[in-house]
Symmetry: none
Amino acid sequence: MEQHVREEWEKFSELLSKISGYGEAIGLLHWDLRTGAPRKGAEVRSGTIGMLSGELFRLETSSEMGAFTEYFSRPDVGSQLSEVQNKIVKDCRKEYERSKSIPSKRYEEYAVLAAHSETMWEEAKEKSDFASFEPFLSKIVAFKQEFIDYWGVKGTRYDTLLDMYEPDLTVEKVDEVFSRLRSRLVPLVEAIAASPNKPDTGFLNQIFEKEQQEKFGLFILEQMGYDFEAGRLDESVHPFATGLNPGDVRITTNYLLDNVTSSVFSSLHEGGHALYEQNIDKKLVGTPLAQGASMGIHESQSRLWENMIGRSRAFWERYYGDLQQHFPVQLADVQVEDFYRAINSVANSFIRIEADELTYNLHIIVRYEIEKLIFNEGLTVKELPQVWNAKYQEYLGITPPSDGLGVLQDVHWSGGDFGYFASYSLGNMYAAQILNTLRKELPELENLIAAGNLLPIKEWLTDKIYRHGQSLTPSQIIEQVTGEPLNPDYLADYLEAKYTELYKL
Amino acid sequence: MEQHVREEWEKFSELLSKISGYGEAIGLLHWDLRTGAPRKGAEVRSGTIGMLSGELFRLETSSEMGAFTEYFSRPDVGSQLSEVQNKIVKDCRKEYERSKSIPSKRYEEYAVLAAHSETMWEEAKEKSDFASFEPFLSKIVAFKQEFIDYWGVKGTRYDTLLDMYEPDLTVEKVDEVFSRLRSRLVPLVEAIAASPNKPDTGFLNQIFEKEQQEKFGLFILEQMGYDFEAGRLDESVHPFATGLNPGDVRITTNYLLDNVTSSVFSSLHEGGHALYEQNIDKKLVGTPLAQGASMGIHESQSRLWENMIGRSRAFWERYYGDLQQHFPVQLADVQVEDFYRAINSVANSFIRIEADELTYNLHIIVRYEIEKLIFNEGLTVKELPQVWNAKYQEYLGITPPSDGLGVLQDVHWSGGDFGYFASYSLGNMYAAQILNTLRKELPELENLIAAGNLLPIKEWLTDKIYRHGQSLTPSQIIEQVTGEPLNPDYLADYLEAKYTELYKL
């Protein structure tokens, strides 16, 4: 590398490190707001988050950033850089160009609104009062529509949003994989509904003490290999994971007294996200590559741990005894097989995050279609509760009794995250495809799980996926790990095999 | 106000609000690091705090700040501003000029040295090895001497340092009040030492369960009027209060199993700081006036609540029964009067932060006199241990057996905080003087306290002090509230009356 290139790269690294620092501060301000910040400070706090997001935005769109990314994009300069360095330049340039197109004042106003809107959503959800939230959500949607124009429409307007979470993915492709998936899942769901072999889930409807739930959750996280010296577990309304830096990756959960499985599986889920971020190569710290490859790949890891490992028979052969010890009264007369069948019970329900792994995809399809309607067909926010309820009736055969159990249930839209939901089902598909390879390369997988020996799984995933962070694209990862592009049949195969056996179809 | 002035003020307000936001973010990053951030993230976190502190400094010394404060300082412009606005301009200008006067290269060298020096101090304190720390402290002092020249000498050289923490206070004035105070306290301390009526403190040396300590602390904070919707209580090694904004003022405490009084009085102390910041007028949010008037006035509020209310007989007449209920075994045979006498036991000890409210002032006077000798009389750092020990012998009748228990005990000097110590005793004096007025204006004060009716006290303090934030100077506050300037006799009177009765002198 020529001396001038090296010197420029050092200066560029300082800028990247500053950008990372702003990201960490904003991440903590958000985390704090959701986990325990006092109510009366929330308004000023929202302003602070907005201001710092504006500063971060300013750095990402600075003339410095423009000049650096232009310089390092030159073929004679880029050829002197490593692959990782070229990926950094490429991602920064993409972000620069996308952001440059939005006037910074508009972006800052949006950020203030989004932070405030989240607080309003929390209250509205609690009171099941969509009307109080509607003006905020309408403004968020209006901002997104405005931003789509700034960013430029690729394919349809909604494609522009999809691309932010899953690069190179289109409405056309998602429509295709979702319809293939649906065509195999719908008959499966129908067969299950018709099966006389329903699991007994009655024993789940007991009071499970919060303290014991917390203890068991901490134990399971430790078993997965979650590093508590590089993270912590807290409570929030909506569980989430946030990587402030690879040495500080926090997760939250929500304890429902009458539902022990909710906190257990949300800990496994967020724990999967967190394992990913804790195990990113330290060399990537301070660069934009110190994060997951995409939302879909990130979600594949939470789903793999929550469902494919955490809802497997082998897992509970090992850990059910521990759960019984935490709840000796509640689970005294419940056999492990009955527990396994109960936690895999398929039911058409209202709440996405409590849905089983099979119907979950229908919850996603509802949201995906509604988002498409908003951005491609002009559906108004006011109409959302009605459309939401109609689609739930159509796909799941149920109508939410309140907006708190319906359109208000998710945090995503309140923060402007449209285009995100599809990632969840993409994650399921990636996860099943990765699991298929994992089984080939660790043929003893079921035995390892049944022995509580989960660390080899974490190590395999670290080697194949986690350590790379965002230095590979989602399609590079899925092809390098599994040898083929995204293929929804692995998920359908996995679900068919599991549920055919479980429901004796 | 002319339109141009109004428009400029709006732009200036945006800059001020941005500065406030950086302060809030840095405050939260610090709070988090001290209360529960995972260990492995600490190094990256420190870098993030350093980066944001640099950004904040850049804003405070920006050409924008220079131009705004110069413009608003013009008589024809200033005359159109409110009193509060003029105070904002004055404070910002002072900070700007002070920071600007130091060549940035020298300041950076100093910052590196100060950080290193703190680490060296920690090691030296642990080994009680002053010689290893001396070269670093000498360099810190040399830098401070250089900075005094940059800042400009007002009165004596040490005046320049004092002014940073307690505006308008001079060496002449502090000399006068400290020597008056000392002349009354030294004989009092001697008389107590000679008194046969020593309280029994043996029962304090028991195990007090942490959970119960926490419950009692939360109860007392609630009684004081601390607003838990605008704050929270956490644990940290060293207790502190931090006002992120007036709607988010957090406090921490530290539970010592073998010392229940430590957490109780640190909660009252930090609670006093927090009441101040929670009750600052919301109109001042986003300006540099949304903080305490000075270190001394801030300290007066922690001391008033901790000592003058919290260590009063009336307070424990009301709350001792509650404390007993929290520790029924430990305090079963201890009468309230014995408890009151034990928590007010006076002892000549080596460590400032463990000192009682009476001898505490002598610890401060030692430090004040030594700082003055350094900056006004050329006392060398090498001579410090000898001078320190001689002064402890003279005022407290004891000679530290090691420098770890003597000159090395405090962190302040290692980080360059010369001029700060005086604030602690100024706080005691302000508190006693304010208490004297409070007693006149709420003649039923003792009865209110004994009835657990503390809110009228909080309301009175809010009206007289808290709501003003930094919009008044310390001397304006003390004169407006009490009708006269700082007068050390109120503290001496208070201490003489209390301890003469307590020790039957």
